[in-house]
Every structure is written in C-alpha cells, then in structure tokens.
Amino acid sequence: MGRTVPSFRIAEAQEVAGWKAFRKALPGKDRAAFDQMTGAARLYTSASSAAVRPSRFEGMAMALIFHHQKLLARAIRSALEIRQGEGSP
C-alpha cells in the first residue's frame, strides 16, 4: 500500500529537473530568470495539487499563468497610480 501517486511537491521538483537540459542551454543570466519562474510555480503548489491534472506540467503552467496575471494586474495598478500622480496638480 502507501502512496502510488507522488505528492505534487515531489512531482513538481521532478518536472523542473526534467527541464535541466533547457536550463543548461540558456545564457547565464537567463538561468536565474528560469529559476525564478519555476520558483513562482511552487508558490501555488497546494492549488496545483488540488486541481488534480494528469500532467504535472499543466498544474505548473496554470500556476505560472495565474502568477503572471497577478503581476500584470499589479503592474497595471502601479502604472495607473503613476499616471494619476502625474496628472494631479
């Protein structure tokens, strides 16, 4: 008995490891961005696990899209605040 399906935390680490060749082919400074991206996916591990998708990449991809959506919204909000600030006397 015991676990047949690995926990999403482990599966996610395996998926990241599976992209090792991709990471290796990136220029040095891009590798940091790549690590940042995979790290961002791990911020939503519980939600990805709850989604129960047959492909572990799907859970990670949704986490990244969602994270980018949040960043985008924050950037838009900041831009609007800056624009409002510029417009004020």
């Binding site: 008995m1 015991g2 676990r3 047949t4 399906v5 926990s7 790290g39 791990r42 911020l43 939503y44 591990t45 519980s46 696990s49 709850a50 129960v52 047959p54």
Partner: protein
Amino acid sequence: MKGWLFDLYPGKPGEMVVWLKLDDGRAERLVDHWSPSFFIGTDHASDLTMPLQTIGKELAWTRVVHRLERVTDSAKTEVVEAKVRDAKRIQQVAGRLERLGPYGTFRLYNVDISPSQSYLYEHEVFPLARCEVTQVGERLQWDLHDDVMDYEYAVPPLRKVQLDVIIDKEGKVPRPTDRVKGITLESDAGKITIDRGNEADMLFELVRIVRDADPDFIITSDGDSFLFPYLVKRAETNGIADRLTLDRDGALLHLPSKGGTSYFSYGRTHYKPSSMKLYGRIHIDSNTSFSYSENGFEGLFELSRICRMPMHTSSRASIGKALSSLQFYHASKGGLLVPWKPTLVESFKDRNELMVADRGGFIFEPKMGVHEGVGELDFSALYPNIMYRKNISAETVRCPCCPDSKNRVPELGWNVCEKKKGIVPRAIEIIVKKRLRYKELKNNSKGEDHDRYNARQAVLKWLGVTTFGYLGFNNAKFGRIDAHIAVCAWDRKVLVDSVRIAERMGFEIVHGIVDSLWVRKEGAQKEDYLELKSNIESETGFAMSFEGIYKWVTFLPSKVDPDMPVLNRYFGAYADGELKVRGIEARRHDTPLAFTKCQMEILRILAKADSVDGAKRRVPECVGVFLRYATSLEHRGIPTAELAFRTNLSKGPGEYTTMTIQHAAVKQLVREGVELHAGEGIRYVITDYEGRDSRRATPLDFVDGEAPYDSKRYVKLLAEACSSVLEPFDKRCTAEGLMAAYRRHTAVPLA
C-alpha cells in the same frame, strides 16, 4: 481473592500463569488451565481431515464454530477452532498445518496474537484491573471490579527499583569480559551499592536483595541490549548461571534465543534488541520503551489497560502494536477473526480516480517571514474524530451493502456503510472519549494530578495518530488504503471549509497544515478568534482548540532554496511569553545539547519582546549569546557530552564506503569490539572535520575527560543554528554574518 491483575504469561503446556497483586502488597501466583485457539477456514471441510489428524498430538481439541472470517463479511461462516496444548507452540503448529495443503487451501486466523493477550480478551480483563479471582477446579473464575473506561482508577502501591552495574572496563567501552565492580539498586527507600567480595558474591547479593525487597518493577537503561546479557555472561564466567534469577517465578536469567532486528520506518533505520523478560516482575528498559520514556508509568498503565497487553509487552511495543491489540480485542468481542496473513486488497481505481484519491491532507503554503498578531487554531484529534464519527474503516468504505448511503467521502463520492460500525471506529471510540476527558481533567488540575492526566492523554494521542497510519499500513490486519484515502479526503474538506469561514469573517490565512490554521486580522482580539473557532466548529462539526495569539511568529524558508517556504519549520512567542518551536535545531534529537541550549536562550530573549520591532531591537543581545557560546567553544569551556551528535546508523558497519563523520565513529567502535547493527544509535563528537581518516570523529564513550573536539567546526555549526532564529529579524545575521561578528569579537582569524 481480591487484587489487581499484575502479570501473566504461558507456563507449562496448558497453563497460563497469572500474578495478582494483593491489597497487602504481596504478589500471588495463580495458574489457570487454559491454552489459546487458532481458527482454520477452508472451502472444503474434507480437506482438513488428514492435516488435523497429522497435527493431532499438538491439539487439545477441535470443533466447528461460526465466526466472521473477513472484516468485510456480513455473516458468520463455519470455521474450525483448534485449541493447542502448548500456547508457546501455536505459530509452529499453525505453520505445520499450512504446509500440509496446497498454498491457500487453509485460511488461518488468530495465530499471531500473543497467548497472554488472547487470555485477556477472552476473560474480559486487563493489566492492573481490580478483580476478584476464584479457583474453580483447574480454572480461574474472574469477577471484574473495574472498568477500562474509568478515568479515576486505583493502582496498587508498586515497588520500583532502578538497577545499574559499575563495570571495571579494560578497554574504552564495556565488554562482557570486563568484571563487575559494583551493582547499584535505587528505589524510594534509598540507594544500595553492592561492592564487597568477589564478582560471584556481588551477583549472589543482587539475587538476595531483589528476592527480599521483592520489587514489582526493575528499571534498567539498556537492560535488553547490554546490562542483563552482561550479567548472564558474568554469571556464566563465575559458574553461577544456574543461580542467577531476578524474577518472582524462579526462572533463570538467560540470553534471548534470537538476536535483535533492524527495521526501516518513516525514512529511518531503527534497531530493536530482543527483550529480556522477567516473570511475575516487570523489567522496563528505559532505552527501548517508548511509552515509559515518553509518558512514564502513568502512560504505560493506561496503554496496558486500554490495549489489554501485559506490561512487559506494552512497555516495549510500538504504538502500532499496542493499537493492533486494541483492534484484536474488539474483533474477538465481535466474533471477527484476525487473519494471520492479511489479504484485503484495495478497490480498483482508474487513473483519474487514483489521482484524485491518492493525496494527503491539505496544506496552505506559509507566508514566509515574521508576523505579528497571528492566532493559531488546531482541530482536536481531527483524524481520530473523522474515523470515529464518519465510520471510516477498511470494511465500511465502499461497502457493498449501502450503495446509496448518505455518508459519502468528499471529492470521491465513495459510499460509507450506514448499517454497521467499523472495527476501527469501534476500537478508536475509547481513545477519542478518554483523551477528551483526560484533557479536561488536566486543564482543571495541578501538580501530580495534572501530570497524571497529561501522561494518560499523551499516550492516547499517539494511539490516535497511529490508527490513521495503520489504515494504510500493508502489514496491518484491518487496514485498507481506501479508508486511509477517505480520512485524507475528509481532512481536505474540513480544512478548506474552515479557510472559507475564516476569510468570510475577514481573516487572512498565514499558514494551514492538515489540522492547524494560523490566521490574522487587523486588530483582532481573543474574542474574535473564539468566534471564528465557534463558527468553524458549528459548520464543520469538528471541535477545535484556540492555542493563542502570537506576539510574533516566524515561518522559515527552506535551507536549500531561500525563496521557498517550509511547511513545518517555525517558531513564535504567544502573548504570555510561551514559546512554540517546530522543525528547527532545538527540536531535533540529533542536535548537540549545547546548540539547543544556545538557540533556546536566544529564543527566550526574543520572546520577551511584544512586537517584531521589539524583537529586532533585542538582536544585539542575542548575538551576544552566540558570541558567548562560540568563545566558550573556542576555549573548550563546554563539556564534551554537550557537543555530542546522536544518529541512528542507516546501514550495517561493513556497508560504509566513504569516510563520513558517522563512519569514522563507527569504525572506532567496531575496532574496539562493539557489535553494531543498522538502526542502532551512536553518539559522537567531531574531532577533526577536515581530516580524512577515522579520527574525524570520536565516539562519546571513548571520550575520557575533555576530548580535543574540532572547535572551528563547532563554532561554524553553532553560527548556522543561531542564524536560523536570528536571520528572520536581522538580515545581517546569516551564518557568515555571525562568523564575521565572531572574528571581530575575538580579533583572531579562525581560518
């Protein structure tokens, strides 16, 4: 005859020896002509005729009875009950029978239940039960004047003695060839030291004192693995092995027939030595007894009573083994047989169902960093309560009799039986009810009463935790992974529902893990948290406890990836200054005591602060603590014993290939003739971390006075331990930052 059932074990063939502790303090030996039965199921009764004749001499009698063969059966079927003549041979007899037919022809039950436990189940009695016993012919008749559900039960006055031996060591570690220098016996009456005469005289004196003092318990440290075998060897050397007896039954102390066992559990290798049993008197080895070392005598008594296991057995049993005994009792009461080799398999699941099902409890990633005003709420015994109240058991989840049951497993939709209560909920009822009551009693009492109730509730907590694990354990007699999965599914629902309630009430979730929630709301007071607790309880149906509001709490990042939160690594100070510490060095068993002391001293300073800013202001004072310990290390002002690391060997001594620190210590121990097994614990001090040979570490037993420990390495490790608790408050307090501060402090370059 009235008294307390103290000990029992099989005697001569057909006899069960029972010791009764009488009101006047004496222990009375009684004999009941009884032996246990095992049960045989087969598809064709005729298959059994010849095999039963073949093993006939081993059996007192056989008869056809009706029992539930499998936990999933709804009706009893015919099986043969075979009463053995000699309780000690029950497994050999069953094994012989099994081999007399093609594999699977005979289904064997109740074979590996200890005869003493079978006796207790059958007679509805338990260790330390107050009872009246009458001898009727060759049998004992039991009249129970006690109830295992009692919270306030009388335990007879019991005599306890701590036994130790002073060894005249010839080498660095004690060996069986070393002579006895002295023997000490310590009890409430005082300490007796036997050190006169030759070795044989001292052993005779030990036997005499034990016989005259007649203690109920002999407590040793390492009695199973060393002390008792050592005494046997010394008695043999002196030619007096035929007179070395320390029990009440006059049996000679002898070496166990088989060696100990190494086993792997939860990612660690463990070693369990064979037990050295006394008869009519209980030998407790504090090094091998989980229940005694964790919860003392009160924990041991409660465990033995509830699980109906003789105290010798329960003191050495894993909690899982104790739990199994509780389940066997309930099985025996309900006419359910206990399979020798369980064959219950999980229900078929397709890929999608398996992915939904095969998950653990829910976790909300912690928000890393230091937080103020966070409240913690914990569900009380959530998993045991889920099993008990939702009727989760191997035979009830996806039962064939209730396809339309209203009791359904969340997310999975599996039906749970509504017609009968499962074996697990039946067994766990006493654990859930008694623990709840003991916690109430503990909270309303002080001193000895408080400690007694606390020990009892603590041992029940372990039983509850283990019940869940055993649902998914492949060697459990009544386990099935579907039931394990169902509990996790319920947990996820309860935790996610609780989070929704908290958010509805304006709380922010800081962390959530399985059955605990950390939440925060600007300006929230105790009453607000209590209202949240009340709402969660009424909507989920499960009780919670409000642990308190933290002045500050820190959720730490991973040591490998500083951007990643770790689920169970945090520390914080409640409003009353009490600290809660999880997952850091001070909580680890392998951390040297000096590191634990230093880390806790720092935490106590931080706990005086009422806010995060206040804690930050106290960082310099904390750094001062680090510097004091580090300087002390450099000047060898810390006792070597406080610098010892403790580890369990992950493999046998011959299996190491590289000279790790652990291997260095092992190599020296083996060189001195110490017999080590995978799973055994060793303690060592780092003596030359940068070295390449076995001098890298020194076993603690070899340290004579002050060892030349590697102070540079220890200062570095101390800096790492201190940075775990200081860096969240001051980014400069990394291990490197603390090392730099130390270099400035000493003005002597370390490297």
